[in-house]
Subunit: 196 residues, 4 copies
């Protein structure tokens, strides 16, 4: 079945590391979203595949599903052209495209350069990347590039049907998909922008 | 949540009443599909909304999901222009559009005229109509017109997560959504063709 | 430039040979349309490429341009599955798809079989085929399969800018693109249905 | 006929006033393009209607037509969010969207603010705006928002059929569509971004 592709099972979703949020009264954490299915859409504002396909899909998910059960979160993971995709540019983009869901800005260890911290922790290949996190905080789908609405809808439906665990496993952070250094040169095609 | 619209809950799906099948070695029954989620796509070959949206969606579902768990079934429910939409025309249509899933032809009590029997039993408003039937044979979604891929995918994901019952409830036929006579005049718009 | 592809220049358009017309008070002839640019869209009602791309394009041309200067004409050229695509089926199709432009039915020498007469005279490869005929009755573009709106629009714009000749050349029928027998087996793909 | 809408006839196209060019070895002027049909596509990189419809249309025109006869030119007319849409951001955008046609940056009298000079001279309502300029340098079509490929193609075909004048009229600059001050607040919808 389609949703099985690109799935990394039983890995705890690393906590988001962000420098700023749009459309959110305060910084969001995955820990605070336990009990919901989380749809994490990572993108860059000048990535054609994100703007033309990924972002509209995230908007549809945000519009069609109940925010109390399905949390749509954008994550701006800039790994190229950092100076042109700063917070101000993102703010204009979100305003003009009328994005209403919370959007975090992925953090750097120092100055903006290379691959940001959350993107590295998830070992993402590029943008757009869609990550589905279950009610207990585990990564259940991790897809770089495009993924059909049927498959995303299916996966959300399946994850929502699962029980949330009584005790949060949010302390088991040693399971995270931490990665080492990733080379930062990138290239974009119709599918998305790759970290090479 | 979107999938709640047009849902008729806890109604046993009436058995299909068909005169012929395409793409099936022998006539299919819903009873024989217990344990699977059934996607019943009803259409007419000259209904623009069916040809342009409904049929392509049914094909995508058939391609993306495992046929051992999700059974996609077409049902040709001709309620207008009967002479132009006979079995031979359907066969040509299915061949040219390369439809691979089983397609039943809805049956009439005598000569082809008015609304056919399965369409009446389900009280369908027109074509296209999508019906999702759960593993135990109950109608869980019943939608006339278009429905987004996200919502269909979501509903299939949710229904697949449910348990199948030990004992089939297929005897409880008194619960069927039987209907009386339905007027047969019809009109098509971009959404579909209505029984009025 | 794109419009140059598939062009057969300086060939007089063979007169239409039809058995019946829809959306026309009386049979149309190309001779009667001298002075207008003629957009001849040939199709079959069960050809997916026609229904999904060719027909919508013909409808847009009919809606966007002045009928006194640009004559959109459909031609139903059935070269396969003749019994399923008879006049009654075409009539239902035209009604349900709300086609408003005149549609002729291509004629056979005897019973409907093989490639019809106009289709043979134009040596068409299959459906959909778009033919643009200039104000003086000459074929200026002849394209099997899809052709972009930009190119069709461009070609119409260029042809409309030309002068109509004083004396009609409609007697020069010896120049027609007459062809011999064409094998009738056919196959359809996403682009259209081929005469092989 | 569709192309008649939004047409301003017989107005000399004001010369472009630009601060910089991408994809051009040296600054382009309309004067140097006499004899060609000029397709001037004005846009902003964060205008959804530009990115989703206008830019792809300009790219198709650039790909389908002969650059020796049809000159496609982009003009970045930033009238809002100036700091986020500077030259560096435009360069990244053009690189990631693989734009190959020359793109000028509309000039300001001083610091980037308000409506830039060329946009004012053409009295544009917002972005996207498409302007077609004939071989003699006259504005023949001026359309804010979307315009169909059929109509754009038609207009290019008609303009290409016209003769270029022997003597350039480029001195008749008194005819330009100069405008006074334009208020700079803006709003975007699915069609484009308006200067209000």
């Amino acid at each position: 079945m389609a949703q099985a592709r690109n799935t990394i099972t039983a890995i705890k979703a690393p906590e988001l590391q962000t420098s700023r949020w749009l459309n959110a009264p305060q910084p969001l954490t995955l820990a605070s979203l336990r009990g919901k299915v989380v749809v994490l859409h990572t993108f860059q504002i000048f990535c054609p595949g994100c703007v033309q396909v990924g972002i509209p899909q995230a908007q549809k998910i945000h519009q069609e599903f109940d925010p109390d059960r399905v949390a749509v979160i954008g994550l701006h993971t800039v790994f190229e052209h950092h100076s042109a995709m700063g917070p101000d540019a993102l703010e204009v983009f979100a305003y003009e495209y009328r994005l209403r869901f919370p959007i975090g800005i992925d953090k750097y260890e120092g100055e903006p350069q290379g691959v940001p911290m959350t993107m590295r922790a998830y070992q993402m290949q590029g943008t757009p990347t869609l990550v589905l996190i279950d009610k207990n905080g585990y990564i259940r789908l991790h897809k770089f590039g495009h993924i059909s609405d049927l498959t995303v809808g299916f996966s959300i439906g399946a994850l929502l049907s699962e029980e949330a665990e009584e005790s949060s496993r949010s302390t088991e952070s040693s399971e995270t998909a931490a990665s080492g250094a990733i080379d930062t040169s990138a290239i974009c095609d119709t599918d998305g922008c790759n970290v090479k």
